[in-house]
């Protein structure tokens, strides 16, 4: 059984662990960078991206996370996690981990009252997937190596670049585990 970590600084950690275990892998909460050596893949959960970034810096996680990705180990970022993976963020001079070649906009669908759920198709993963968007970002542009997996109203909401996967919505908040299962398969390869 593969071991998948969920970055445990802040956000929807418990839900991702539940989803990972439902998808047939072992879920481990990662609170310290030393734990990264024990896992085969990592999920960066939804939460507040500014808060997570501060805690990543505070606990010296930054280099360790970039190295983890550069070693070829899969990373899946959801919502705030997607923002952390991008190499270009609208309105900010500096991006965070910069592991995926894409430009993203934060809170792009609006504030909480505009948050919504909708059924979307995710290419090669799932049709009619129940996607929950909460103050969600979207991807404005992707580089040539990024594969667009899903759009909603012409906005890119899921993408993959090699061993990196991201979604603007929250697959951990429903009982539909197909996207997490897809990530578990990426880790198993």
């Amino acid at each position: 059984m593969v071991k998948i970590g969920v970055l445990g600084l802040q956000g929807a950690i418990r839900e991702h662990i539940r989803s990972v275990e439902a998808a047939g892998a072992k879920g481990i909460i990662i609170k310290y960078k030393e734990q990264l050596t024990d896992i085969d893949g990592l999920i960066i959960p939804g939460g507040e991206s500014t808060t997570m970034r501060r805690l990543i810096d505070k606990y010296d996680f930054f280099e360790a996370l970039v190295d983890f990705g550069k070693q070829g180990k899969p990373i899946f970022g959801t919502c705030a996690g997607l923002i952390l993976l991008a190499n270009d963020i609208v309105g900010q001079d500096h991006a965070h981990l910069s592991l995926m070649d894409m430009k993203v906009e934060r809170n792009a669908f609006g504030r909480q009252r505009e948050s919504f759920e909708a059924e979307i198709d995710i290419k090669g993963v799932a049709d009619q997937f129940e996607a929950v968007f909460i103050r969600a970002p979207y991807i404005m542009e992707v580089g040539p190596e990024v594969d667009v997996l899903a759009t909603y109203q012409d906005k890119i909401v899921a993408a993959q670049q090699g061993h990196y996967l991201c979604s603007a919505f929250h697959p951990e908040l429903t009982d539909d585990h197909r996207l997490t299962e897809y990530f578990v398969k990426m880790v198993e390869k």
């Binding site: 600084l9 939460g47 507040e48 909480q112 009252r113 919504f116 059924e119 909460i134």
Partner: protein, 294 residues
């Protein structure tokens, strides 16, 4: 077809705040200090609870100018308080695009019988609770998030501890009950039966439950996390301390690593003096905010 304001969307927003600290702020400058320190959200207010307590009189929804100023200053979610049962204050905050409304006992109640029907709104709500009965009634009315009431503006953690222990003890009792005992328990608690049934089936509350009402130090925040809170609200504790930026950062770190005592010791060193606290027995019964709500 997209749907806004569903339970999943409203409760999900609170799930994203877990493990984080939500800070009371009264202007843009404080909001930026909070965001910089790593707050997951800010609560925009006209006065922090300890000042509300000191000022006396009627405490109402903040001036929309302040709420707007805070919303423009930060990119993290902004919450604001409406009086218990004040339909129009809540609708005004919703219309302004506030991300979460606290139907709060810190303000003077507008209705002494009824709370808001929170299912009617697209914006999610957080409500205070001291026990499972209050928690279940608020869930029945449609709150998407709970918090302990504690005793706001005191810097004294004792009431928040009492409330989180009480709620969690009652949840444990409920989960271990036979199903045929639940209706009578619902009657005793004044709680909706269906909500209790759902809690029993899932083994936990259906919404997150944060700590609030008396958190003044990093150790207080960590204590509440250890007792099972999903996150922490800090009202007067930050901007009534000697050094708000230091206190804010230290409380965020202690909340993340609430079981790492070396770290809590480290972040608590030299951060200045915490807010001056109030002993609960010195507060006249009619001035206890936790008794507001029905």
């Amino acid at each position: 077809m997209s749907k806004v304001g569903t339970d999943r969307v409203k409760r999900g927003m609170a799930e994203m705040q877990k493990g984080g600290v939500i800070m009371d702020v009264v202007n843009a400058e404080q909001a930026k200090i909070a965001e910089e320190a790593g707050a997951v959200a800010v609560m925009a207010l006209e006065r922090v609870p300890s000042d509300i307590r000191a000022a006396g009189g009627v405490a109402r929804m903040a001036d929309p100018t302040i709420v707007e100023e805070v919303m423009n200053a930060v990119s993290i979610p902004v919450m604001a308080k409406a009086r218990i049962g004040h339909i129009v204050e809540a609708r005004v905050l919703e219309a302004m695009g506030v991300d979460y409304i606290d139907e709060s006992e810190v303000l003077t109640p507008a209705d002494e019988v009824y709370h808001l029907n929170k299912r009617d709104y697209t914006v999610p709500f957080v409500c205070g609770c001291r026990n499972l009965g209050e928690a279940a009634r608020r869930i029945g009315e449609g709150t998407s998030m709970l918090r302990t009431k504690g005793e706001p503006g005191t810097g004294n953690i004792v009431e928040a501890v009492r409330h989180i222990r009480e709620v969690n003890a009652q949840v444990r009792k409920l989960v271990n009950m036979n199903e045929d005992e639940i209706m009578t328990y619902a009657k005793e608690l004044g709680a909706p039966y269906e909500v209790l049934l759902e809690i029993k089936e899932n083994g936990r509350l259906p919404v997150v439950n944060f700590a609030a009402g008396g958190v003044a130090t990093p150790a207080d925040a960590a204590l509440m996390m250890q007792l099972g809170a999903d996150g922490v609200f800090v009202g007067s504790g930050i901007f009534k301390s000697d050094n708000p930026a230091n206190f804010a950062r230290a409380i965020v770190e202690a909340t993340t690593h609430y079981e790492d005592y070396d770290l809590i010791a480290k972040v608590s060193k030299g951060i200045g003096t915490a807010m001056k606290g109030l002993e609960i027995s010195t507060i006249a019964p009619e001035e206890r905010m936790q008794d507001r709500g029905w």
